[in-house]
């Protein structure tokens, strides 16, 4: 707001120019890897260098026709969707409870619920590895789903909790005073208003699981390798252009998630503009 109006002295203008230049460089730094890898996936050559010898979709073809890659994509989807559903159930009920629960232990419980986000992945992974191996949960989908749910639920608790907190209980009362039964009030007023929050929570949960690799490294058998896990070995062994195709596919999924999230946020913002 004050960028132009307050730049009166030359030194201020220089400082502002420096900020702009440094920021531009940082933006380039942030975007460069993503932008650099995209064209390579369309290369017709098998070296990861520029200039590209030509355009082709052979690496995407390679990805699609490789049972290994396709299996990993399928695994990522299975584990991601299952842990999203489970974490939504657990996280939403917990957020509902936490919204009403008053106790001096609440900060403690909240810290505990959110701690999976902070604890280093390797520690969680090692702990789970020791804990799940004797009960046959390593090398199984169930083990991975449970582990990813633990990592994803904090995000659900945070987003759904924030939504519930900002929900105006007067709206539910208004619906009742206008003659809506509790069920009608829930379906027609409460649900449409908290749905974006629930959806954001689900997206966060899915993204968390979809991007997770440390736990998968420790716990997945050859059958359960996910897309990031496959990329991990791909990068370790040697980077073939197929990996860049996988990277582009993963990035596309991220962009879709991000765009959905942004759309939900916009919608929420627009609705919040009322009532004041």
């Amino acid at each position: 707001m004050s960028d132009n109006s307050s730049l009166r002295t030359p030194s201020q203008r220089i400082a502002w120019a420096a900020t702009v230049v440094v920021s531009t460089l940082v933006f380039i730094f942030l975007m460069a890897p993503i932008l650099a890898i995209m064209p390579l996936s369309f290369s017709s050559g098998s070296y990861l260098t520029y200039p590209l010898p030509g355009f082709s979709l052979r690496w995407y073809d390679d990805f699609i026709s490789s049972p290994r890659w396709m299996n990993s994509l399928k695994n990522s989807m299975i584990i991601g969707i299952a842990s999203t559903l489970l974490s939504m159930v657990l996280g939403t009920t917990a957020a509902l409870g936490l919204a009403q629960w008053k106790s001096r232990f609440k900060p403690l419980v909240l810290a505990f619920v959110l701690s999976p986000v902070v604890v280093p992945g390797v520690i969680t992974a090692v702990g789970l590895y020791f804990f799940f191996a004797p009960i046959g949960l390593t090398g199984s989908y169930l083990g991975l789903i449970l582990a990813h749910t633990a990592l994803a639920t904090p995000f659900v608790v945070i987003t759904v909790g924030a939504t519930l907190q900002s929900f105006d209980t007067n709206l539910a009362r208004a619906a009742a005073s206008l003659g809506a039964s509790p069920l009608q009030a829930f379906r027609r007023v409460i649900l449409p208003l908290i749905l974006p929050g629930l959806a954001s929570g689900a997206l966060f949960a899915f993204a968390t699981s979809f991007d997770e690799v440390v736990i998968v490294l420790f716990m997945a058998g050859p059958e359960q390798r996910t897309l990031p896990r496959e990329m991990f070995s791909g990068i370790r062994e040697n980077i073939s252009p197929t990996i860049t195709a996988a990277a582009v596919i993963l990035t596309t999924i991220s962009v879709i998630l991000l765009a959905t999230l942004e759309a939900l946020r916009r919608r929420n913002e627009r609705l919040k503009g009322s009532g004041g």
Partner: protein
């Protein structure tokens, strides 16, 4: 309290011995008996925290009375859930559904009642016409001004023809001019539609201009329920006298009581005659209440020995456009206000000694503050 002289129409709403506590320790509503007649515009007036919203919420069904019973058309409503009470409500922050358009908001009570499409459409258009917002039907609440949102909230609460409409400080968020305009509009709606309205405010002038009757709340107790003019002219205690309109207070002790009148020795010296409204008898302390417009200033040295004639000193005068005020030092009250004609304030000089007089019937002896 003031017994009705004519037997009124049967009450639409009757609060009977209502008590309410949230924490089990202190009563937010202490003992509420209140009849609301059909077609009446009744206002609950009182300072913040006096239990007005709580009373309204109990009537609407969002809070349960701790004790007592509320009757709607002579039927107890303890077990009737809010959505079956058929009571329209305008919330303080309007509570318009942000995800629905204006038209959808107004149609909501009709559609949950499964009205036919044609009827819904017709009544929604009528309601929009009533609030003069046909052109904004497809906007969302977030795109409206405060006053427009207020109108929509009103239309939504009225569109299903509820037997009773509750309004909790509906104009609290509006600026003064818009507030006054909306007061008129609401009053007009009340008159043309013949609905019963329970209105909550802590703005006394709003209450005075709009209401048929006002219930003055303080500390969980209804201090007085009466017509606006009766409240102003015949307050039953110091709180009401103080809360409604401008008011001068003089502390004193009752000397003698004679039927409706008493003689009071002022704490600051002198004695006056006053109407005995709320005094227990000779020897009791009391506070006298005198309205600024019922006091006359007589210049020093002028003749005449009125019954209530007290020496005063002019502190200063305040010009207020349509009238002026003189601030006097009278007995123990250093901020005694007297209403003057606009020109009259020039003749009073700060520091000047004058006399004030008022009629005994304009001076009320009430409970000590």
């Amino acid at each position: 309290m003031e017994a009705g002289t004519v037997m009124p129409a049967p009450a639409l709403v009757r609060f009977s011995g209502i008590q309410k506590t949230y924490d089990g320790e202190h009563l937010v509503v202490k003992n509420l008996d209140l009849d609301i007649r059909k077609g009446e515009f009744i206002t609950l007036l009182g300072p913040s925290g006096s239990g007005k919203t709580t009373t309204l919420m109990m009537l609407a069904g969002f809070e349960v009375p701790t004790h007592g019973e509320i009757y709607l058309s002579e039927r107890p409503i303890k077990n009737v859930p809010p959505h079956r009470r058929d009571i329209g409500m305008v919330f303080q922050n309007y509570a318009l559904f942000p995800h629905l358009t204006i038209a959808e908001n107004i149609a909501f009570p009709l559609s949950v009642r499964k009205s036919s499409k044609a009827e819904t459409q017709e009544r929604v258009s009528a309601a929009l016409r009533m609030i003069k917002m046909e052109s904004l039907a497809h906007r969302r609440p977030g795109q409206l001004s405060g006053g427009q949102q207020q109108r929509v909230a009103l239309a939504r609460a009225l569109v299903f023809n509820p037997q009773l409409v509750l309004m909790d400080e509906p104009l609290g968020a509006l600026d003064k001019r818009l507030r006054e305009q909306m007061q008129l509009e609401i009053k007009q709606l009340h008159e043309t539609m013949g609905i019963t309205i329970v209105y909550v405010t802590h703005d006394q002038s709003e209450a005075l201009t709009m209401s048929d009757r006002i219930a003055v709340f303080n500390d969980g107790i209804v201090q007085q329920i009466d017509r606006p003019d009766a409240l102003y002219e015949h307050p039953v205690n110091s709180f009401v006298a103080h809360f409604i309109g401008e008011n001068n207070v003089l502390a004193g002790t009752v000397e003698t009581v004679e039927r409706d009148y008493c003689r009071v020795a002022l704490a600051g010296g002198g004695t006056v005659a006053a109407r005995a409204i709320n005094v227990s008898g000779a020897g009791a302390s009391t506070s006298l209440s005198v309205r600024p417009e019922r006091v006359a200033i007589v210049p020093n040295g002028s003749s005449g020995e009125g019954p209530n004639r007290l020496p005063a000193r002019v502190q200063n005068t305040i010009y207020l456009g349509d009238h002026a005020l003189a601030v006097l030092d009278v007995a123990d009250n250093a901020e005694f206000m007297v209403k003057l004609q606009p020109g009259a304030h020039h003749s009073l000089k700060p520091g000047e000694s004058v006399f004030i007089t008022f009629r005994p019937e304009d001076c009320l002896a009430l409970d000590p503050v």
